[in-house]
Amino acid sequence: MNNKILITIARLIFPCIIALGFYIQINGNNAPGGGFQAGVVMASAFILICLVFGSNFMSKILTVYKLKVFAASGVFLYGATGLLCMLFGSEFLNYTAIENSFFSKQTLGIALIEWGVGITVFSVFTLGYYMFSTNGGKEKNV
């Protein structure tokens, strides 16, 4: 019976945590924040889902394969930004090469790499908690 309270509160709080994670990620330029903190906050939202609704439900939303691909794509985004700067004629990770009128001095490159870091940190911590709580995906319904 006390499961109903947990399920109701988790349903209310989960979008708030995701919104806070987005806020911390986007406001990394002018406030404390950035990729690492936002990734951990968003991972904690999905750890809450895994705790309250069970890992069976969690593995239907985000399978292990999708989390691994997500983690790799974060690192790939970081490296691709560096290579993009090389395509525009500068060194690796020199963001002044991709400066344009909408994004002032180096903010486009910094925004891209912070998203890469945030995506990687989020998927690694969610994957880690899922592995710990289900013994590698073998004992679901925990």
Partner: protein, 116 residues
């Protein structure tokens, strides 16, 4: 001498972590003591970086001469951000190794594992 008290206490926390790694036989407690050691070292670096009556290294305008703001030293903060995240990555890999050791050898005590 009283001005150096914060440094001494941070190093004391680090030494308590080293003592915990050396003395405890259980691998789980060794790993948590490693976390205490990391926290002590990170505290020491952040204590070095503080300036008196200084605020966080987040400025209000784009050049240092326009808005004069006394700011803490930002370089140790950056290095410690990296250190905290790498510390938790190491802790998680260590924990998964401990779980596998427990499943294979049925124990995580130091003395019993040396007999194997």
């Amino acid at each position: 001498m009283f001005e150096h008290f914060p440094y001494m206490l941070c190093l004391f926390v680090a030494i308590v972590g080293i003592y915990g790694i050396a003395v405890n036989g259980n691998y789980f407690k060794k790993l948590i003591s490693l976390g205490v050691l990391q926290a002590g070292v990170i505290m020491f670096f952040i204590a070095i970086a503080k300036n008196k009556d200084a605020s966080a290294p987040i400025m209000d305008c784009l050049s240092f001469e326009e808005c004069e703001k006394v700011v803490a030293n930002p370089l140790p903060h950056v290095l410690m951000l990296t250190a905290i995240v790498v510390g938790v990555a190491t802790l998680s890999v260590g924990l998964s190794l401990i779980i596998r050791i427990k499943q294979e050898y049925k124990t995580v005590e130091d003395k019993e594992l040396q007999k194997e």
